[in-house]
């Protein structure tokens, strides 16, 4: 597939990389139909985010069509469904997730990556798509395909009749603004 990769400060490139595969039963693969560049992506572009490695695929605001579903069934999502994917990854099962604090998910940052954020911030943080190795090391969605883990928790199924442009911002800013208003 084609994907936008980070190579270093002020150096991002569209290149051909391997397609993603389902690794865990609760994951899905999406064919990305729309993606946005976030202001936070500029921090990566300007090299302000530590633990980026050359070749990392960028993008945490995206949506798409389900093309493959893991063995666990993805909470009812089916091939062909359109979904918007919120940027931070939540397992839905740990204490922070059960109390609605998805951004503090204990489990979505792989064990060897979470160490870095514990040292940097004093506590582990959840995984985020395309946002450095200390925040999970996940391939992002500025690509033709993306793997979405724990797909039965956060992804939002898009009802028919709504265009990509009408719902894409549920991946980040709209959803988070709503979240902040609810929890303020």
């Amino acid at each position: 597939m084609r994907a936008l990769t980070w190579r270093g400060k002020h150096d991002v490139r569209v290149e051909t990389v391997d397609d993603p595969h389902i690794l865990n039963p609760r994951a899905i693969i999406l064919k990305v139909t729309a993606t946005a560049i976030c202001g936070s992506d500029l921090h990566i572009y300007d090299s302000f985010i530590p633990s980026m490695l050359p070749g990392d695929i960028l993008g945490h605001e995206f949506m798409g069509e389900v093309v493959e579903v893991g063995k666990a069934g993805a909470g009812g999502l089916k091939v062909g469904d359109r979904v918007v994917v919120p940027f931070n990854i939540a397992c839905g099962a740990c204490r922070p997730c059960k109390t609605g604090q998805f951004a503090d998910c204990d489990n979505s940052n792989p064990a060897d990556k979470a160490d870095i954020s514990e040292v940097a911030y004093g506590h582990g943080v959840s995984g985020i798509f395309g946002y450095s190795h200390m925040i999970g090391g996940y391939a992002g969605g500025q690509a033709e395909l993306v793997r979405v883990p724990y797909s039965d928790v956060e992804p939002i199924k898009v009802p028919g009749g709504l265009s990509d442009e009408q719902v894409l911002f549920l991946s980040d800013i709209s959803r988070r603004a709503g979240w902040r208003l609810r929890t303020a």
Binding site: I57, C91, N107, A139
Partner: protein, 68 residues
């Protein structure tokens, strides 16, 4: 709501090569304390979510190795 179950592991061992060996192991991320912490975290993931979280995925980079 309870805060869950705390699991602590106490492991006593003699690092091969003494202090220096331990330092080298730590630099290579093979030090026992690091490994045990990560294994406990994976155990928690497996217990709570039914899977061990992985993010290894497609990466770019090879194509431009020679150019840079």
């Amino acid at each position: 709501m309870g805060r869950g179950t705390e699991v602590h592991a106490l492991i006593e061992y003699d690092a091969p090569g003494g202090r220096l060996g331990r330092l080298i192991a730590k630099a290579l991320q093979h030090e026992l304390n690091t490994q045990a912490r990560r294994e406990l975290r994976r155990f928690k993931q497996l217990m709570e979510t039914g899977e061990i979280t992985r993010s290894d995925g497609p990466r770019g980079g090879q194509r431009y190795q020679d150019e840079d």
